[in-house]
Subunit: 241 residues, 2 copies
Amino acid sequence: MNVFIVHAHHEPQSFNGAMTARVTKELEAAGHSVVVSDLHAMGFDPVSDRRNFTTVAEGDYLKQQREEQHAHENSGFAPDIAGEMDKLDGCDVLIFQYPLWWFGMPAILKGWVDRVLAMGRMYGGGKWFDSGALSSKRCMVAMTTGGPEPRYVAPEGYEGLNPPMSAILTPVHHGVFWFTGMRVLEPYIAWSPAHLDADQRSNTLDDYAAHLMAQLEQEGAAPPVAAEFPPPTFVRAKANA
Amino acid sequence: MNVFIVHAHHEPQSFNGAMTARVTKELEAAGHSVVVSDLHAMGFDPVSDRRNFTTVAEGDYLKQQREEQHAHENSGFAPDIAGEMDKLDGCDVLIFQYPLWWFGMPAILKGWVDRVLAMGRMYGGGKWFDSGALSSKRCMVAMTTGGPEPRYVAPEGYEGLNPPMSAILTPVHHGVFWFTGMRVLEPYIAWSPAHLDADQRSNTLDDYAAHLMAQLEQEGAAPPVAAEFPPPTFVRAKANA
């Protein structure tokens, strides 16, 4: 299998770094191929605008989805985006490796989603959820948290949010992975690795590697059936005019 | 009142642009003061790492929260971050104006959250939720969607996600606004402005302005009581060592 890890942490010596290093070694030893996009090391730019394109559909008004569709039809994605798209196309399993920041992905990873999952190429025109363009792929979140496990699970919850980790994962599971048609594997969450001692960290890395290898044998949760809503159109929303 | 709008859209002529322009005019006419951070126009950098700081607490290992605490104690925030912190300090009401992308904030806005809401200065050491550092402030989401309203509300929902807009707003309402102690005003959501004609767009802008002016008379939803968990510590998580 081809596994693509999109890795979003600024410190190579971090626990996130150790997680990616460990499963890369484990996967390769098992005969799988691994590609890692280490976003901070690559200097990945998370801002989505005309920098995504070498083509222009409409020069005086930027409607990102229209430009994405146009770039898709005219090989007009900027090299940094085209490279990530190729990696995604080539993978069987996609892993997002990141620390939980403000109940979500760090901006550098959110920007990877914003820019790489372009309309026309990755979704749109009826290609979403159960008919999604990425339906041949499986995906998984591998995450670290700052706080300890009880903050994120029922019944304690996160100040009234229950179950908090489900709410935290909904945008990525439902809004990104399922939206594009991928099947979702069980996430792996390393709870507060900053508070673990050396043995606990080592055991957690073993546990993560075992989790991933076991998940590779699973089908993953399939996306829901797409509801029948009108497909997006390209009406120009020039509100100031 | 001092209103601070953090505006995240790459097209000045967009409906997001029109929303910010409209309420700026309305607020100023009513005698309020308005500050806008137009993140794309500013070239705001959303990547969070050592670029946030002019100081260094620990040079060979980047633990962001430790560096934030250190920068807070030593006036060590980089000028772009310090400037945003000053704007936030000076406001009574914070508005996030953005288009919904992938069930969340565009990366440029998420990066504003990641970088500006620094530990020590904006939260931490027991300052969160009902004892949050920003408890004197109110805040509001003003958002546009791509899809029409029925996709985002019960009972149809977003392919099984119900109620979807509540799930979509949880990370920002609970994880950002409440986390830092702010009181949350009712969000304003402009449903699929790309599909509105000129009259509908004009009416929607009127509706948004009226909504905001009415919300300024409200107290906003107070954050929940912080649960008693141990405060974060700075154990070094050098997993590879």
